[in-house]
C-alpha cells in the first residue's frame, strides 16, 4: 500500500527558531515529491523535488530529497508567526491522472 508519513504531526516553537519537518514515503511509480503550505484554506505550492541531493530554496525555506532512503526534509530558518500553518508532503505517481498521495501533515505553530 502506498504510504507517506510526516513527522512530527505537531510542532510549537518560538519566533526565530529553525525547524525541520520530515517526510518519508513508500510509493510505487514515484514521479516527484511536493511540499504545500496550508493556512486557512487552499494548500499553496512550495516545492517540487524530483532529483536526489539537489536543494531547493525559497527565502527562508529549503527542501531536499533523498531517493535512496525515501525521504525529504523541509527546513524553515528564522521562523516568523506567519509561518504558522499545516505543511503537507505529497508524492506524485507516474500515471495518467497525476494522483498525489499525501502525508498526514505537520501543524506548525510559531509563538511570538
Amino acid at each position: 500500500e502506498d504510504k507517506v508519513v510526516q513527522s512530527p504531526l505537531s510542532l510549537v516553537v518560538h519566533e526565530g527558531d529553525t525547524v525541520t519537518l520530515n517526510c518519508s514515503y513508500e510509493v510505487t511509480n514515484f514521479r516527484s515529491l511536493l511540499w504545500y503550505k496550508q493556512e486557512k484554506k487552499a494548500p499553496t505550492f512550495l516545492f517540487m523535488l524530483t532529483s536526489s541531493g539537489i536543494e531547493k530554496k525559497s527565502g527562508r525555506l529549503s527542501s531536499i530529497l533523498d531517493k535512496k532512503e525515501l525521504f525529504s526534509i523541509l527546513n524553515i530558518t528564522a521562523t516568523q508567526t506567519g509561518d504558522s500553518a499545516i505543511y503537507l508532503c505529497a508524492v506524485e505517481q507516474i500515471q495518467g491522472a497525476q494522483k498525489l498521495v499525501f502525508g498526514q501533515g505537520t501543524r506548525l505553530t510559531i509563538n511570538p
Binding site: 507517506v4 510526516q6 504531526l9 511536493l34 484554506k41 487552499a42 494548500p43 499553496t44 505550492f45 517540487m48 503537507l88 505529497a90 495518467g96 491522472a97 497525476q98 494522483k99 498525489l100 498521495v101 499525501f102 502525508g103 498526514q104 501533515g105
Partner: protein, 111 residues
C-alpha cells in the same frame, strides 16, 4: 491566474440528505480530484477524473459518487449524508504542464 472554485465554504446538512459539492476550474485542466481532509489523517483521495465522463475511485470512495459532464466541472455527491462524512472537502485540478491547483475547500457538517 488559475482558479478552482468550490461553490460553498461552509455547509450544514442533516443526516440522510443528498448533498452536492460543486467544483469548477477555468484552466482547461484534464484532471480533477476530490479529497477530504481530517485532522491527523491528511488529505485522502475520494475520486478523480482524467477526462469528461471518466471517473476512478480513490482510496475512500464509499458513500460518495461523482459526476463530470463537462471538462470544467467536477461534482461530488453524498447520496445519503452521515455524520462520519463531516469533514473539509478539497477539490483540485491539474495538467501535466501546470501541476496542481486547489480550491479553497468546503467545510461540511452533517448533523
Amino acid at each position: 491566474d488559475v482558479k478552482v472554485t468550490q461553490s460553498s465554504r461552509y455547509l450544514v446538512k442533516r443526516t440522510g440528505e443528498k448533498v452536492f459539492l460543486e467544483c469548477v476550474q477555468d484552466m482547461d485542466h484534464e484532471n480533477m480530484f476530490w479529497y477530504r481532509q481530517d485532522p491527523g489523517l491528511g488529505l485522502r483521495l475520494i475520486y478523480f477524473s482524467y477526462d469528461v465522463k471518466m471517473k476512478e475511485k480513490g482510496d475512500i470512495p464509499e458513500g460518495y459518487s461523482v459526476s463530470r459532464e463537462k471538462k470544467e466541472r467536477f461534482s461530488l455527491i453524498l447520496e445519503s449524508a452521515s455524520t462520519n462524512q463531516t469533514s473539509m472537502y478539497l477539490c483540485a485540478s491539474s495538467s501535466h504542464n501546470y501541476g496542481y491547483t486547489f480550491g479553497s475547500g468546503t467545510r461540511l457538517t452533517v448533523v
